[in-house]
């Protein structure tokens, strides 16, 4: 019985992964340009600073995804007998902790700007012989940081769902929601222009709270995955019904009196155990056939053992 597999995605998902990688490369190049452009238009606006730091941080998931998918494709070996799947869980947790830390800092920083009644000073600069108020430049930079990001995000979300990849999903959904950040910051700057100094700090606080909330949500999901929670579908609290199907299938075998299964998420795929109470004598061929049948149910049902038992375990 062969238990360890090289990790192979079905052909259509291999294509999806390739596309996702390509999109992440585009994202990376685009985000670097955003970070540079935003940096030069920052000025003393708190909202711009917050939006900029969020953009810097949004580099992490793209980089993590590209590195992780390279590591993840390696075959299991003597040192890593379960393969490299968990690399996704680790980078997801790391990214989530970074986001949470940044969220806490930004909430503090923006609150202080509000408490100290810090009036943002926004001056003018010469561009090709024209004097331009930097507020307009900031707004242009923010639009550049939001619109392409939204398009990239919307393209990546379906891919992340197909691939059951949380890192990709987090990255994509954050980018899709980036227009909220940009809109808040734009309103903040327009507010400053209209003589409302606190508009900027309030916009910054709004952005900071959304960063903090995302950080908390992702740290929770990432920790639960690493604690081997029952696998859930992406972005839902629904338990994955594929596992129920595994249990039903095992129960339907004529040589089985009862069956119970448990699975855990290991990056994109599931690892687990199938406990069966056999009727009469065990035929190894039955187990081998059953193993192949369960594996063919779904590509996510990746690595598991079929354990014949006298009595079904309590889990």
């Amino acid at each position: 019985m062969k238990v360890i597999h090289d990790f192979e995605l079905p052909p259509d998902l291999k294509k999806a992964l390739k596309r996702a990688k390509k999109l992440e490369w585009i994202t990376l190049v685009y985000l670097i340009s955003v970070v540079i452009i935003m940096y030069f238009s920052l000025g003393s606006s708190q909202a711009m600073k917050t939006a900029w730091l969020e953009d810097v941080l949004s580099l992490v998931p793209s980089i993590a995804f590209l590195i992780s998918s390279k590591i993840n494709s390696k075959a299991p070996n003597k040192r890593f007998p379960y393969g490299y799947h968990r690399v996704f869980s680790i980078s997801f947790l790391t990214g989530a902790v970074a986001l949470l830390g940044m969220g806490i800092f930004l909430v503090y920083d923006s609150s202080m700007a509000l408490i100290k009644a810090d009036h943002p000073t926004i001056g003018s600069k010469m561009f090709f012989g024209y004097e331009v108020w930097m507020g307009w430049v900031m707004i242009l930079a923010l639009l550049y940081s939001a619109i392409p990001a939204m398009i990239l995000g919307m393209k990546k979300i379906p891919l992340s769902e197909d691939l059951h990849n949380k890192l990709l999903f987090t990255d994509a959904s954050a980018q899709k929601a980036d227009y909220m950040t940009a809109l808040a910051a734009i309103l903040g700057i327009l507010g400053v222009g209209a003589g409302i100094w606190w508009a900027d700090a309030v916009a910054a606080l709004f952005i900071s709270i959304s960063v903090l909330r995302d950080g908390l949500k992702h740290v929770k999901t990432a920790s639960f995955d690493l604690m081997d929670r029952y696998p859930q579908r992406l972005n839902t609290t629904d338990e994955d019904e594929i596992i129920l199907k595994v249990e039903e299938t095992a129960r339907s075998w004529p040589w089985v009196a009862g069956a119970k299964v448990r699975f855990r998420e290991s990056g994109q795929v599931y690892f687990g155990q199938v406990a069966v109470v056999p009727k009469g004598k065990i035929d190894l061929d039955d187990i081998a056939r059953g193993y192949e049948e369960l594996r063919s149910l779904h590509w996510k049902i990746h690595d598991f053992t079929i354990d014949p038992v006298r009595k079904l375990p309590p889990w």
Binding site: S44, D118, H119, P120, T121, I122, G123, S124, K125, M126, E131, W133, G135, V192, G193, A194, G195, I196, W197
Partner: protein, 143 residues
């Protein structure tokens, strides 16, 4: 139609944009432009309450251009910056460079000569716009 409305809106906003949250420029227009002077020759010199020096002359020119009355008063840097923070005066001059330690407490204009700036109350963006208009204009005239 909507196109024209947008253009009109942009024009209108760029005329009144940005505003001063604490109305420094309006005040200067209604009363006078209050300039704090830190003595630092050759930029600023004070002799028996007569003020002279390159920066004093420049601000006088600015006041004339904008049709403002102007009054100078001498003080230490820290005291004058404190008054800026409380929106009591409008500008502080005295050969202050763009790397000044007061960056956090006061706003500043673009350098008028690559290095030296004027300090203004933080966030008084209309006053800043008028000052910078003047600085850019001066730069154009004498490159």
């Amino acid at each position: 139609m909507t196109k024209w409305k947008i253009i009109l809106l942009v024009c209108l906003t760029s005329c009144v944009f940005p505003k001063d949250p604490e109305n420094s420029f309006e005040e200067a227009r209604r009363n006078e432009l209050l300039v704090g002077v830190v003595e630092n020759p050759p930029f600023t010199m004070v002799e028996d309450s007569t003020f002279s020096g390159s920066e004093v002359e420049m601000l006088r020119k600015f006041a004339t251009k904008e049709g403002l009355k102007i009054s100078f008063k001498e003080g230490s840097e820290s005291k004058l910056v404190k008054q800026l923070e409380e929106f009591e005066i409008h500008v502080v001059i005295g050969g202050i460079t763009k790397k000044t330690i007061w960056k956090k407490k006061a706003g500043m204009t673009v350098p008028y000569d690559k290095e030296h700036v004027y300090l203004i109350p933080k966030g008084e963006n209309r006053l800043l716009k008028h000052l910078e208009d003047f600085i850019f204009q001066q730069k154009k005239q004498q490159p």
